[in-house]
Amino acid sequence: MQHLDEGTIHSWLDGALSADEAARVEAHVKECPQCASGVAEARGFIAASSRILTALDHAPRGVVPIAAPKRRVDPLVWRVAATVLVVAAGTLVVLQNGTNKETLMSARAKIEQAPVVTEPTVAADEASPNTAVSDAPAIGLSRRAGTQSSRGDVDGRENKASAGGKSPQVGKTGGVSDYAGAATPTVPTIAAPMVTRSRLSDVAAMDAAAEREQLRVVGTPRRIGAKVTLYEVAPGDTVTLTESIPSYLSSIVVTGAAVAPTAQAAGAIQKSAAPSKARADAAANARESQTAGGVTAAAPAVSAPAPSAQTETANTLNTITWNDSVGNTLSLTGRMPQSRLQAIRIRIERERAAAAKKNP
């Protein structure tokens, strides 16, 4: 009998041969040392391959991703709301400010020229190239708006640029968006670029940008009488969510010591500190009226249970406080403008609602 091939040896060891064939193979293996070592090797391979395959049994679960959470509010609603807000804010800016006709006329012209048409077909992702342009300056501007209340001298200089709209560094368009930032301190991320461009795709882009920012829980420090959650909203940028039960508190939780000066007070500081009195006056007046307009216009944008209090400390920590549907008092604190806090709050609420739906 010729030597056994590997397939036959495996078939024999696997018990797949007929009785006759098996007997023949067995007889041969007893006589043939070469085939006997082949059998030994085959046994080794069988055992080893079984062992190797066992290692595959600890397979991970969930390589398939969970479906993305559904948005609670139709994005179209936000777009329409934002459009209404922008038009309202823009109109207020134009109506209430008589000192900067040149700049504001151009802003008004832009609003009127820009197509304020709902574009439901514009996908958020398609609009994303605008994001970098529209989002970044908005935040920068609102930060600057925050600075003004404490640092009149710096502000005075800035006002020159924004009020005049002629400064070589800022330029005309810069002046307009500066205005938007000042005009709507509570929602500059929406309003600032909208005044200059007033396109709904921008809103979609910003909405998308906000969605892309991951709200990540980075810590839950203990505090008596409150549940505290730290969210990371951007790398190195955290906000603190404090949930208190109303019975613990006789009043609203306010973190941060200083209360922001009113727009009028800020204007007064600016007046005294500004190097060029006439220009600063114009700026302060403009800001006063715009701030008033902005606050009015901002209220509907929040579109949630009315905030019970808003307190802003200059240039440091800002806090927004509100009550949720079951009466708990929540406050959100972070080193960022209130507008951004409001936006984050909406997202946190959305996520919490989604989580609550999942685990009632």
């Binding site: 397939g7 040896i9 078939s11 391959s49 190797i52 049994d57 679960r61 390589v63 398939v64 991703p65």
Partner: protein
Amino acid sequence: MTDVERLFRTYNAALVRYLTRRLGDRDWAEEVAQETFVRALRQPSIENERAWLFAVATNLVRDQARKDMRRRKHLALLAEQERETVVEPEETTLERAQEAAMARKAVDGLAERDRLALLMREEGLDYNEIAEALQLSAGSVGTTLSRARRRLVESYEALQKSREEREKNAAS
């Protein structure tokens, strides 16, 4: 006990293990196994149950894989990135994970037919059942299995060796 219940109780564990080894994802494996039993339910009669189930499961994987190959590739990439970044807490996990990764690589390196025959054999299918499920001739199953086992073990050992060398180099 209905027929499908009996089928499920008899073959589900083996089928899921086979599919898990084949796919590297337990959830996906369970999904395919369930779909296989659903298909069995629609079948008026099945002659060789085990061969039929393994053949249907194998075909489902093949069809699905063809359908969303790109998605799977992307997900596998993500999973790999995740594995690189996530450090699991247990001490033994690292060793186990390394072994699993090497085993995965060695199994993936096999020809499709060799891999499937081997995985089916590991679940106890006999040569006739494997031949039926994979549409091979019964005589070629021994050759297929012997080749699969040798290649699997050799490539696993090669991976092991290169890993040991890497570790030695890292230590010195």
